[in-house]
């Protein structure tokens, strides 16, 4: 019995009719839809409880207080530590994505010598060989740490210990030259100022500790027609800070020195400030010509500055004339109570060891063999040796006084996750024991008995004397407490200025991404410059 075509058709028809009465088509429809909701190639977060840990941000030298949400052993979110004595709970935009940085595609996982894989032993031998041949310079981006002492000791044997200043310290350079106090121990007394004249400093855009000036501005200036705190921004273009300032003065690029001199002249001639120290030779007309402003505007600006004292002048690139103007206005520059290492005399080193805290752009003296520590490869490096350092929250980090701060402070951040197997810090590499150095730094603070301890979230400090030991202090610091010196410990710096300074050519522009010293941006920074029009693409993004 041979089945006919019609039988086959009927069989097929029957099967088609039958299958509708089974779960098959309906379940397939449902399951394929569910499949699209749970595509296996799309990662999903781990399950489990979330724990909040205290830490400090190591992206830049300001050490803002962090609250890190941890789940399944990994950080899953970052927020500011409320009432933190240094950052006041605020963070910069980069910090919010910092916990993802350790998986950045440019993370360094192995020692590299001129682009080729090498070993720690080889690097170690090369450094020893170089040290035998000539002096070794060590560059530290964050002096004042226990680890800095290790680096200083190592350099002290045969070379030079050099600190790489950030933007705030660069702006303090003239005062350091005139007072003999290193810039790393100087700070701005922003809190007392009632008028701030900023020559291009992006005060509201990544200059200084994020929670410091922005907080002052938001409580005393933002949105007010006649604010308690007047911010006058002198800058050629409409930067974020300029648009938010009480007054914006669009002066020509490169005219800061002339403008500062012109202002100083008006202040002295009109007896708006007590005359002391040298007077610039520049006339108001010359200043006006250089700045591209009417002479009247400069006179008016000077009167405006003098109207509400104390006034503080800040130059983004350490323009000496602006510093001189600031001294004329009364200073506002303080010296923190801390022992800062003096800058070493210039030498021609045989080798340079650059700590991971040093900004990626730092250019060491040419001709030396460069040992560069970094957690991320910023590309285009002239380093001979690229040495992988621990990344974000992967080691105990020390956070000495923030650059430009008015009082000394010290904080520790615990290691919240394991570092990759083969990474090392510079201090350990040169033979030191960072853990001992941290304890030694705690002992120093503990012995001095200055200032107090701000525990996590606390508004008031606990006196240091209430702690039983330096080890206890260290534990407290690792749990999120911050040691802050007594404000009375800082004193106004004394500067000797014989004549009005000549103009120095400054080129530093500054800005939100420059505030950060590491070579790459957190991947989520794409929200700011690639996926929105909030920011121009930073030159250093390289993601």
């Amino acid at each position: 019995m041979k089945p006919s075509r019609r039988n086959l058709l009927a069989l097929g028809g029957g099967a088609m009719a039958g299958v509708v009465f089974t779960p098959l088509p309906w379940k397939l429809l449902d399951d394929t839809a569910i499949w699209t909701q749970n595509w296996p190639w799309i990662p999903q977060p781990a399950r489990g409880p979330v724990e909040v840990k205290a830490a400090a941000c190591s992206l830049c030298p300001h050490g803002c207080g962090l609250q890190v949400r941890m789940a399944a052993g990994f950080p899953v979110g970052v927020s500011g530590a409320p009432a933190h004595p240094v950052s006041g709970g605020a963070l910069c935009p980069l910090a919010f994505g910092a916990h993802q940085l350790n998986w950045h595609p440019r993370r360094l996982h192995e020692v590299r010598r001129r682009g080729r894989a090498a070993s720690w032993d080889a690097a170690s031998m090369a450094l020893r060989a170089a040290a035998a041949e000539g002096p070794v310079a060590v560059i530290d981006g964050r002096p004042g740490r226990g680890a800095s002492a290790i680096l200083r000791d190592f350099a002290g044997k045969s070379g030079a210990y050099i600190t790489a200043p950030g933007p705030e310290e660069r702006s303090l350079a003239p005062y350091a030259a005139w007072s003999g106090v290193p810039a790393s121990a100087l700070g701005y007394d922003l809190e007392s100022a009632r008028t701030i004249i900023s020559f291009g400093a992006p005060l509201l855009d990544g200059w200084g500790t994020p929670g410091r000036f922005t907080r002052l501005w938001s409580t005393h200036a933002a949105g007010l027609g006649d604010p308690e705190l007047r911010l006058i921004q002198i800058e050629p273009g409409l930067s974020h800070t300029a648009t938010l300032a009480w007054r914006w003065v669009p002066a020509r690029p490169g005219s800061d020195a002339a403008l500062a001199a012109g202002l100083a002249r008006v202040l002295v001639e009109e007896r708006l400030v007590p005359a002391k120290g040298p007077v610039p030779a520049t006339s108001v007309a010359d200043a006006a010509g250089a700045a591209g402003l009417p002479a009247d505007a400069i006179v008016e600006l000077a009167r405006m500055i003098a109207q509400r004292a104390p006034a503080l002048a800040i130059s983004v690139d350490g323009e000496p004339a602006v510093a001189a103007l600031n001294l004329l206005l009364g200073g506002g520059i303080v010296q923190r109570r801390e022992t800062a290492a003096p800058q070493a005399a210039a030498i021609a080193p045989r080798a340079v060891v650059i700590d991971a805290t040093v900004p990626w752009e730092y250019e060491p003296a040419s001709g030396a063999e460069v040992f560069r520590f970094a957690a991320w490869d910023g590309g285009g490096s002239k380093a001979d040796w690229l040495l992988p350092a621990p990344g974000f929250l992967e080691e105990i980090t020390e956070h000495p006084s923030a650059p430009g701060s008015a009082v000394a402070s010290y904080a520790l951040s615990p290691a919240l996750m394991d570092a990759p197997a083969d990474v090392r810090g510079a201090a350990a590499f040169v033979g030191g024991t960072p853990a001992d150095a941290v304890l030694a730094r705690c002992q120093e603070i503990f012995r001095a008995r200055n200032g107090g301890l701000y525990r996590r979230g606390a508004k008031d400090a606990v006196p240091l004397a209430s702690l039983e030991s330096a080890a206890r202090l260290q534990d407290e610091l690792l749990a999120g407490a911050v040691w802050v010196d007594d404000p009375a410990g800082s004193r106004k710096v004394r500067c000797e200025l014989k004549e009005w300074p000549a103009a120095a050519a400054g080129t530093h522009r500054g800005g939100w991404a420059d505030a950060w010293s590491a070579p790459v941006l957190p991947p989520l920074a794409t929200k700011l410059y690639q996926e929105s029009n909030l920011r121009e693409v930073p030159a250093r993004s390289r993601i």
Binding site: P3, S4, R6, N7, L8, A10, L11, G12, G13, G14, A15, M16, A17, G18, V19, F21, T22, P23, L24, K27, L28, D30, D31, T32, I34, W35, Q37, N38, P40, Q44, P45, R47, P49, V50
Partner: protein, 194 residues
């Protein structure tokens, strides 16, 4: 014509057999739990029958789920008896401090938010109302995974037709909705999704 009808009936019957018989076998893959576990024995030995004693709510309102290996270590630090399963527990998980990769029958996908705290504390639901009387079982049943969606079979329920199923059987969204409707509790989309 009768032959045509017969062919149609054969096709119809074959489709029914395939759809109800073969299809579930192909769709679901059986998996065995990594180790054995007896709720009954543990309840008897520890003298507790309250689910929450082992499957506890955390203070933050999260649900602890299956106890961690650390809590097994109290009794199973060393093998209790000579069974193979016992040796596996101690040597594979307790001693190396590894978490047991349990296959969770009631596991919902990442987009589902289910608050045990709200359902047990505020609504007063008993565990068994959704999970069945797990505490009285004497062995862990095999786990079946849907090869397409990756879901546990318990989400759909044993019954392919979903017509006659026990009250606790099935954990699809419609099951949640049915219960909510019965109790007159409203929860928007993001009340139960995340």
């Amino acid at each position: 014509m009768p032959r045509t009808l017969l062919a149609f009936a054969i096709g119809f019957g074959a489709a029914l057999a395939a759809g109800w018989g073969a299809f579930p076998r192909v769709l679901y893959q059986k998996k065995v739990q990594p180790i054995e576990f007896r709720h009954k024995t543990h309840a008897a030995k520890s003298g507790t029958s309250a689910c929450g004693d082992c499957h506890a709510l955390r203070d933050d309102g999260g649900f602890g789920g299956i106890p961690a290996t650390a809590s097994c270590a109290g009794c199973h630090g060393e093998p209790m008896g000579a069974t193979k399963a016992e040796a596996a527990l101690v040597n594979d998980y307790v001693k190396p401090h590894r978490e047991t990769p349990w296959l969770v029958y009631a596991r919902q996908p990442a987009n589902v938010r289910f608050s045990h705290a709200i359902h047990t504390r505020l609504a007063g639901l008993k565990c068994a109302e959704c999970h069945g009387a797990q505490g009285e079982t004497d062995a862990v049943k095999p786990y079946e995974v849907n090869r397409i969606s990756g879901y546990s079979r318990d989400i759909w329920g044993r019954s392919m037709s979903r017509l006659r199923r026990a009250p606790h059987e099935g954990m699809k969204m419609t099951d949640c909705e049915d219960c909510h409707r019965k109790r007159g509790v409203e929860a928007g989309c993001l009340g139960c999704h995340q």
